[in-house]
Structures are given as structure tokens and as C-alpha cells.
Symmetry: C2
Subunit: 504 residues, 2 copies
């Protein structure tokens, strides 16, 4: 490697260190604001984050950085593969950043600040009309953004999809959701028509300290490293990370619903394990952390559903739950509990949906987003379209916008193209499970006191790579083949036809 | 004001905004590390804070900033008084910063990182010898620092004292502690000889959620604004602030000691009220926040002791405590409770000491620090000196270093000159109480559901000024006179001679 390349690598690493520092502070401030900061702290926080964003933008588009990256990009054949990959990503990132005028980005940021507040009000008041003008502007910006960023290969909605999950375009998603619509919608109707005597466990109270203890127990079972992570409390659970040495999850606790905090914990722990198990050598580089949204969701859903709603898992761990809530669960057998945590029900709210009906919620959102960006659908009639589709897939009339189009914060937060990764992630999880079973008996491994064997497989196949390769590369190497949604359909039909005693 | 001054003010404000941003991020990261960050996050945090500190140092000693400050300082007569005060402070700060070689400061920072860890180990192992070499180096650095920073007026220990409480030198403190030694030590011995049947309330358990509720209730009573503040949890309670809109306290909760979290809450709320009530126009300037350590402590001690251990206060609020712990306190009358929270006892640990014996703990530390810096005492024999003085003032033999010289984190954290401000603060609180009583009947005001009248007086006399004047200026204007420790002696003798039925 010649001296000039070495010099440029050094320069790049220096600037990267500075950028990482800024991202670190942004990250910590975000955690703080989401978990503890008092209401009125927003002004100071906003001012400081605004200043930091400007600094970041200046560095990321500044001559020193861009020239260094350009030079390294031109000489990328001489870089080692992982570093080359990082430079390719950054080169693309810089080019994309430059394509959107700074003032439009700033305007959009301001719009999002407002729109989040208005959305919350509108949701409380069940009034979509209030939020509509903001959604209108968000959709307009995203349509315009798609134009700015379009390439020969990617246009329109594909550009937005690519922001969240590289390598999956409308073509792939249309196929995927087409399959779900064809195979899953009729099956869901059969399951829901079957006799369902759901246990009423919400009539009892479940001590919050014990719910926290159970979440911590799950942390131990799933091999979450508490010296490199912690658990906080927020209304909407999320996973946060600053490095492999600092990975945090949050949870919510309701006194009548112990299963809510239990499954939120398992879900978020799935995300958190991914982050903790990335090779630490990527810390503070731009190929650190989970590689994509769908890959992340595949891990959280793997733990939440495939492990966390698995009979063999609870054979081992239900005694712990029963020990904590001996009074409330005294008449609830393992079989009862298994059926309880796999209860299927057509319902309005995505985040409360069960494993089987969940992807239908996503399918609906995907179709609406896709048509909004193409212009086939306008914001003017999106609420109507939502309600019509909901009737078609779920057979239910949406009673108001809070139980319908206003339920999620994604669109008000500006995210269009994000939703489909949730369903894709669930589907990937099933295929990973099948692949894992080719290598060892996963069900049998659940007899163990923890999920170490599973974690190690996922770490070696997925986690450890961080973002050092493209998501499709990592996935296809792990699967030794292409993504195939039939694994997902089969997994769901196999499991729920047994539980509900219906035909596949 | 001429254009050049205006231009320099603008330049100064721009740099100040950037510095404030850096301080804000440091501040948030500090809060995070003290409250929630997992153990292994320290590496990333250390690296990023290190980089930020270097940036800060460069700006603070850089030509652009220092020339601007110099220019404004030379033209200070044309600045409005508050801004002039800020420039004077900053000018002094820059000059002090430049006097200590950067490499020595960095070395010292590294030493402190290590010394904190070693101190903790030494404390656990009750082994002063382990910590001694670190204390040696810390004392040496502070002696050297005193040389670097000495002026015609301030030399030796005075330089260090001035870092924590401007305007109080060894001369003042010698007088103050001399008075305590003469008047208080014999009185304490009389009180402790009196019959003391302390109630054993620690034999019961006190639900932690209810302890938190009580802390929150105290927040409301003392008029803490929860929209501009919050309460967290740490082993060692502290108050933190980033602006008047973001002031936080922490607390610890022990299931057998409800009074520990109760009085920690009141103490920290005293600090927090001060910060919340500073005029918000000073936010993000360098004259924001409480003016000095002693002034801060005067506020926390005012609330903790003068209000929080006051009979009339509990007449009003003990029913709330009793409501929460009706079972445990069913036989405890208001008079019992009052005596319980004013129990006097000679004991080893400063942070657990009562209002009356507390200043003796400080006096001991003050004398040792003073003699260490002057060279009259060497680190070699400081443990012996501690134990001798303890015997003299408390009549007790120190059984081991953890109950003696290793108990506090101040010295291991590098703070020499800090301790005396604690006692000074308590003394100031008594004098403020006497002054307040000249203007309204403080005891009567405690009949009210909250301490609004008291807060308003303190806000108008102390809080609102932030750091826009020197501490002595603010204090002497508030008192309409000089500080006089006799108020403190009289207050303590008056109160405890009654409770314990002994002569003053």
C-alpha cells in the first residue's frame, strides 16, 4: 500500500473518530430525552442538537472529508475488503446527502417536529383531518426525495424502500405480500373461526417489581450481558445502542398485563443480542451495529415468536413465571399458558397483534405507502383506503382513526418504506429457524437453562458481521440460498393449524 | 457602544454558544454514566469525553476566544454590569487555565481516574496504605497548582479554597471553625450525655414505591417544578442541572430506612430549587446556575434542616407520612417523630451525621487539608492525625479507615478545599433564616400547604441572581450585613438545648 493511501486512511480515521463522537453524543441525548428528561428541557436540547447537526453536515459534505473518501474510493482495490465496504457505503452516503438541498432537509426536520406533536393530538382526538395536511407534506417531501435520489435501477418507492432495506424493491415486496395475501389471509380466517376460549388473565394484578424481575430473568436466559447493557422504562419499548459495550432496552409495565412486559422484553432482547454480539472491532466505525431493519427485526421476532412462543421453551421457563405469580396462575397449566401466549385474534392495533395476524397489518400499510408514493393514491382518500383494506383483510369496521390510520408514529415521524421490513424480518426469522435446524436440533437445545447454542449460531451467521457486508450477502451466506417466504407461510400454518386444530 | 465592541460581543456569544453545547453534552453524559450506563460503557465514554475536553481546551485557550475576551475586558466599562461580570470571570478563568501546563492537567486527570478506583478498593478493604500513594500525588499536585495560581493576595491553601468559595480564605475559615470548636464541641458533649432514647423505626419495612411517593410529595410541598425537573435513583444522591428547564435530583431507597430517602430528597430539593429559580435569561451563559458551593449548600441545608427538621413543618406534613406508613408509625406521635428526626449522636460517618454533629466532621477535614497543603502535615501521618482529632472532637476511637479517613470520595476525586463549604453553607442558612424572620414569620408560613413564601424570599434574595454577581455580594445584600457564624451557633444551641433539655 503506498504512502498516500496510508496517509488518507489516517486522515479518514481521524475525521471518522470526530463524527463518531458527535453520533455518540446525539445518541446519549436521544436516550436521555426518551427515558428521563423533563418536558421543558426540549428547547435547550433542540438548540444543541441543531448546532451539532449543522457541524455534522458541514464535516460530512466538507472538502476535507469528501476528498479523502473520494481518493480512497478511487483506490478501493488496494483496501482490505471490510474497509473497502465501509468506503463504498460512505461514498454513497455523501453523494446522497449532497443530492438533497440542505435548506429542504432543514425545512423537513422542522416539519417533522411539528407533525409529531400534531399527530399525537390528532390521535388523542381521533381526528385524522387534523393530521392530514402534515401527512400531505411528508408524502410530498418523500416523493421529491425519491426524485432527487433516483438512479437507473431505483425509482420512486424503491428509493425509499432502499433507505431501510437495501436490495429489496417493490418487485420483491409485491411478491412477498402477494404470497401472504394468497396463502395467509384465508388461513387466518379459518383460525379465527375456530373455537377460542382465551383465558382471562388480565383480571389479576401482577406486581411490577416481579415483572421487572421476570424481564431480568429473561435477560439471563437469552444471555444478555448486563455488564454491557441495561434495562430502562418507557411507554414504547425500544432498543438503543452506542457500541457493543453499551446496549440498552426499555420496557413498559402494566399491572394487569404481565405478558405485555414479558414479550416486549424478549422482543427487545432479540434486538439487543444482535447489537451485543457484533464483532467489537467495528465499534466507532461506520460498519458497526446491525446491518439493516429487516435483519434486526428477524432477530427480535426470532426470539419473541420462534423462541418466546415455543412450547419447549416454556416447558423449561414457565415454572419461573408460576413461581413469581403463584396465586394468579395456580390453575393455569403449561398447555393453557402456551395457548394463551399464542392466542390469535383479529384486532385493530398492530403493536398488540399476535404472531399470525401481525403480517396482515404490515401488508395493509405497505400497499398504502406504495400507492401514495406512486400517486395511485392521494392523502385525501388514504383514510378511506385504510378502512376498506382493513375490512377486506380483517373483516372488521374501523371505529375511529386512532384504532386505524393514526395508530402508528412512523408516518408522522417521516418514515415511509420502513413498515415492510417488519414483515420481511419475521419471514427471515422462520427461514433462519429452518436452516438452524439443519445444523442442530433447536427444539432440543431449549431444554438448556439458556439459549447459548442458538445465540452462538446467530452470532456466527449474522451478528458478528455487523454492517461489514451488505444485508443480502450476510443473509444468503447464512441461509446458503435465497430468501424464500414459503418458510414463513409453512411455519405459521404448521404451528397454528396444530394449536387451533384447523386445516393448513 | 461602538461597532467594534458590538462585533466582539457577537463573536464572543457565538463561541460561548459552542462551548455551552459542549458543556451540555458533557453534562448529559455525566448524568447518564451516574444513573444508568452499564459498566463496560466506560471506554467509549472516556474516549469521547477525552476528545471533547481537548476541543474545549483548544477553544478556551485559542486565539480567537482569548483575543475576543481580552478586547471586551479592556473595554469592560462600556459593557452592561452583568455582562461585564461574566467577562471578568472568563478572563480570570482563561488566565488560570493557561497557568497550568496542559500535560500536567492531563496527567492529573489520569491520576484521578485511577485514584477513584483504588480508593474504592481501599475503602472496601479498609486499607489506607493502598490509597496513600495516590493521596500523596494528589496533595503534591494541589500544592503545585497553588504555586501556579498564586497571586499577591492568595497563596497556598487560600488558592484552593478560592476555587470552591471565592472570598473565603484560611483566615475566615480559621475564625469560623475556631468559633465552632470553642462553642459547639462542649455543647455537643452535653447533648450527647443527655438521655437519648432513640426510637427504633428501622425494625420495620417501608415500601419503596411509597418512599418514592413521599419524595414526590415533598417535591410538591417545596414547589419543585416537575415540568422542569425529574427524580432519578443512584447510590449517592446528587443534584444535576443543565439549565433552569432541566434540573434533576437522585435519591437512594433502603427498605428499612424511610427517613434516609426522605431527608435526601429534601436536601437535594434545596439544591434543585436554587437551580430552577435562577433567572432563565442566564441559561447558556457563564453566569448561569448557583453562584458557589457554600451558597448552594446553604440552600440544601436550609430546606433539609431548618425546614425539614422543624416542628411546625411536620405539624403540617407528618400526617402524610403517617398515612403512607400507618402500620409502622401507628404509635409514633408528632412529638416522637420530631425528636426522631432530630436525634443527635456521635458517629463515624459524615454523610449520616445529624445537624448538630455534622459541622464537627467538617472541622476535622478542614484542619487536615489546611495542614496538608501548608506542609505542616504529611500524607505519611494523615491517618494518625485523623484518628487523633476524631478522638478529641467525638470522643471515639476510629475502628478502621473505612469508618475514618477513607469514608469520603472528595480527596480521591482530587477535591481539596471543598469540604469547608459544607459547614459554611449550614452556617449561612441559619443567618438567612434570622434575616427572613425579620421580614415575615417563617414558622407561621409553614402552616401553608407548601413553602411558596419561603421560596419566593430565597428566589428574590439569592436564587434569581444565578452567578451574575460574586457570592459575597449576593449574600451581603441578602443579609444586609456580613456573614456572622454566631447565628449558626445560636440557632443550634437554641434548638437542641430545648429538645434535649440541657443548658446552652
Amino acid at each position: 500500500m503506498n504512502e498516500n493511501i496510508k496517509l488518507n486512511i489516517k486522515k479518514y480515521e481521524e475525521i471518522r473518530q470526530r463524527l463518531s463522537m458527535y453520533y455518540y453524543f446525539m445518541n446519549i441525548v436521544y436516550w436521555d430525552s426518551a427515558t428521563v428528561a423533563p418536558k421543558m428541557s426540549y428547547i435547550q436540547r433542540g438548540n444543541n442538537l441543531g448546532m451539532l447537526s449543522e457541524d455534522l453536515y458541514k464535516i460530512r459534505t466538507g472538502e476535507e472529508y469528501t476528498k479523502t473518501v473520494d481518493f480512497l474510493y478511487e483506490n478501493k482495490d488496494q483496501l482490505d475488503p471490510e474497509f473497502r465496504h465501509e468506503i463504498e457505503l460512505i461514498k454513497e452516503d455523501i453523494e446522497q446527502t449532497k443530492k438533497i438541498p440542505m435548506n429542504e432537509l432543514i425545512e423537513f426536520e422542522k416539519l417533522l417536529n411539528e407533525s409529531q406533536i400534531v399527530w399525537e393530538e390528532a390521535k388523542n382526538e381521533k381526528d385524522f383531518l387534523k393530521f392530514k395536511p402534515y401527512l400531505q407534506k411528508i408524502v410530498e417531501f418523500r416523493r421529491k426525495e425519491a426524485k432527487y435520489l433516483e438512479t437507473d435501477k431505483l425509482k420512486g418507492y424503491d428509493v425509499l424502500l432502499n433507505n431501510y432495506e437495501r436490495g429489496y424493491t417493490q418487485k420483491e415486496y409485491d411478491e412477498f405480500f402477494g404470497l401472504l395475501k394468497e396463502k395467509l389471509v384465508p388461513f387466518v380466517k379459518k383460525v379465527c373461526a375456530a373455537n377460542n376460549n382465551k383465558l382471562d388473565l388480565n383480571k389479576y394484578e401482577y406486581n411490577i417489581e416481579k415483572q421487572k424481575e421476570l424481564a431480568k430473568y429473561m435477560g439471563d436466559v437469552l444471555c444478555f450481558d448486563f455488564s454491557r447493557g441495561t434495562m430502562g422504562e418507557t411507554e414504547h419499548p425500544f432498543t438503543w445502542n452506542a457500541s457493543t459495550n453499551d446496549v440498552r432496552i426499555t420496557n413498559h409495565f402494566y399491572k394487569n398485563e404481565f405478558s405485555s412486559s414479558l414479550f416486549s422484553a424478549i422482543h427487545e432482547l432479540g434486538h439487543a443480542l444482535y447489537e451485543q454480539n457484533v464483532d467489537p472491532k467495528y465499534n466507532d466505525t461506520f460498519i458497526s451495529g446491525g446491518v439493516s431493519m429487516a435483519m434486526h427485526e428477524s432477530q427480535s421476532r426470532f426470539y419473541e415468536n420462534i423462541i418466546g412462543r415455543n412450547y419447549n421453551f416454556w416447558k423449561n421457563h414457565y415454572p419461573k413465571v408460576k413461581e413469581l405469580y403463584s396465586e394468579q396462575l395456580k390453575d393455569v397449566s403449561l398447555d393453557d399458558f402456551y395457548k394463551y401466549v399464542n392466542n390469535v385474534e383479529l384486532s385493530f392495533i398492530r403493536t398488540e397483534a399476535d404472531e399470525l395476524t401481525y403480517p396482515l397489518h404490515i401488508m395493509l400499510r405497505y400497499e398504502l405507502e406504495r400507492d401514495l408514493i406512486s400517486g395511485k393514491l392521494e392523502v385525501e382518500s388514504v383514510e378511506e383506503a385504510w378502512n376498506q383494506k382493513f375490512k377486506e383483510y380483517f373483516g372488521l369496521d374501523v371505529p375511529n382513526a386512532s384504532l386505524g390510520i393514526l395508530q402508528d408514529s412512523h408516518w408522522s415521524g417521516g418514515s415511509i418504506g420502513y413498515f415492510p421490513t417488519y414483515a420481511l424480518g419475521s419471514a427471515i426469522a422462520s427461514q433462519l429457524y429452518d436452516k438452524m435446524n439443519e445444523e442442530f436440533d433447536v427444539e432440543k437445545s431449549l431444554d438448556s437453562s439458556n439459549t447459548k447454542q442458538i445465540n452462538e449460531w446467530l452470532t456466527n451467521k449474522i451478528h458478528k458481521f455487523g454492517s461489514s457486508k451488505y444485508p443480502k450477502e450476510i443473509l444468503e451466506e447464512a441461509l446458503d440460498g435465497k430468501f424464500d417466504a414459503n418458510h414463513y407461510i409453512n411455519y405459521l400454518k404448521e404451528k397454528y393449524s396444530k394449536i387451533y386444530n384447523v386445516d393448513k
